[in-house]
């Protein structure tokens, strides 16, 4: 559906923009969330990303680029906010998100512990590996799109992703 929309001529009407907003909101939120690790901050960033996309949508000549374009805006805004906040990531929301899918209390607690360990390891990871890993975990994003957001070739994305997983495998003991 997203591809179908992208291939059609970009519609600057309210209905057209709302449609693109609804199709992209989840991924745009997750990109910000991957960087910030906090729902409230991620939602603010996602909102700002769509505001910027709206402001500049008239200058966007190629409609097929809307998806990649709004992804980049979200990622850049999230990085700016993270640098501005200079605080440790608050991953409580992520624990809740994962925990809500499990009913077993013991499993839930184990998952939380593992996630806590995972996030601690991710913070120790070199930044360029962490960025690739964060974007690669976003639903519905392949290595080509991750490369487009970061401005690196697909092959580099794959090698960094492998390095990131290797780092985690070694660090999570």
């Amino acid at each position: 559906m997203e591809e179908a929309l992208a291939s059609s001529e970009i519609d600057s009407s309210e209905a057209g923009f709302v449609e693109r907003l609804k199709e992209n909101q989840r991924r745009v939120f997750q990109i910000a969330y991957g960087v910030l690790g906090n729902r409230a901050d991620a939602e603010e960033v996602a909102q700002e990303a769509f505001l910027q996309a709206y402001r500049k949508s008239r200058s966007l000549r190629d409609p097929e680029k809307f998806r990649a374009w709004v992804n980049r805006i979200s990622f850049r805004l999230a990085l700016n906010r993270q640098r501005g906040l200079r605080r440790r990531l608050d991953r409580d929301a992520a624990w809740q998100a994962t925990g809500s899918e499990t009913t077993d209390g013991v499993r839930n607690a184990e998952q939380r512990l593992l996630l806590s360990q995972l996030y601690t390891c991710m913070e120790r990871m070199p930044e360029k590996l962490r960025r690739v890993l964060q974007l690669a975990t976003v639903e519905d994003m392949d290595s080509v799109e991750v490369g487009a957001v970061l401005g690196i070739p697909e092959g580099t994305v794959r090698s960094r992703l492998h390095a990131a997983r290797k780092f985690l495998l070694d660090a999570m003991k």
């Binding site: 600057s12 309210e14 709302v18 907003l21 609804k22 909101q25 989840r26 939120f29 997750q30 969330y33 991957g34 729902r39 991620a42 939602e43 996602a46 909102q47 769509f50 505001l51 709206y54 402001r55 008239r58 929301a93 992520a94 998100a97 994962t98 809500s100 899918e101 998952q111 593992l114 996630l115 995972l118 890993l133 975990t137 976003v138 639903e139 492998h162 997983r165 290797k166 985690l168 495998l169 070694d170 999570m172």
Partner: protein
């Protein structure tokens, strides 16, 4: 894992990730219980990671009504109306111009049909006397040049006292 097995550490990690074991490592694993145990642990950890990583995003999405809030924020900035105005600006120009032209045309037609004798007056104003055509004669050309002193516009031969034409 024994202390002299550290050289296998990287290959163990690679094998846990790729699932492909080299013949050399296979030989080592068959003879080293510590590394074989580490290999099993790494494979289990890799499976856990595969489960955990997508889980960090699973279910993560903006709260209900997000798109409405974004649209409200756009409308609050006034940019939506501004963009709409930009989109329809040709109409904003063309409609008043068309309306003005229609008014002028209607008033003109109305005047023509309601002022008594207007048509006759217009016809009279454009009337030219038939003799005007006579003025469009060689006389007009003659009038275009100024005669020298002692000459006339028209050189008419006249008889002098001796009956000769001069």
């Amino acid at each position: 894992m024994k202390s002299d097995c550290t050289k296998w550490k990287d290959e163990l990690l690679e094998t846990a990730l790729s699932g492909k074991t080299s013949p050399a490592l296979e030989r080592h694993l068959s003879s080293c219980a510590g590394c074989a145990e580490e290999m099993t642990r790494l494979k289990a950890r890799r499976a856990k990671l595969d489960e955990l990583l997508p889980g960090t995003m699973r279910g993560a999405g903006p709260s209900v009504g997000f798109s409405d809030r974004v649209m409200a924020a756009i409308e609050a900035t006034g940019e939506w109306r501004h963009n709409q105005a930009l989109r329809w600006w040709p109409l904003g120009v063309l409609v008043p111009v068309a309306a003005a032209l229609m008014i002028v045309f209607a008033v003109d037609r109305n005047l023509r049909s309601t002022v008594p004798g207007l048509k006759d007056a217009q016809r009279l104003a454009s009337w030219r006397a038939p003799t005007d055509a006579l003025l469009e004669s060689p006389g007009q050309k003659m009038l275009q040049k100024t005669p020298a002193l002692g000459e006339s516009y028209i050189n008419i031969p006249v008889k002098n006292g001796q009956g000769e034409m001069k």
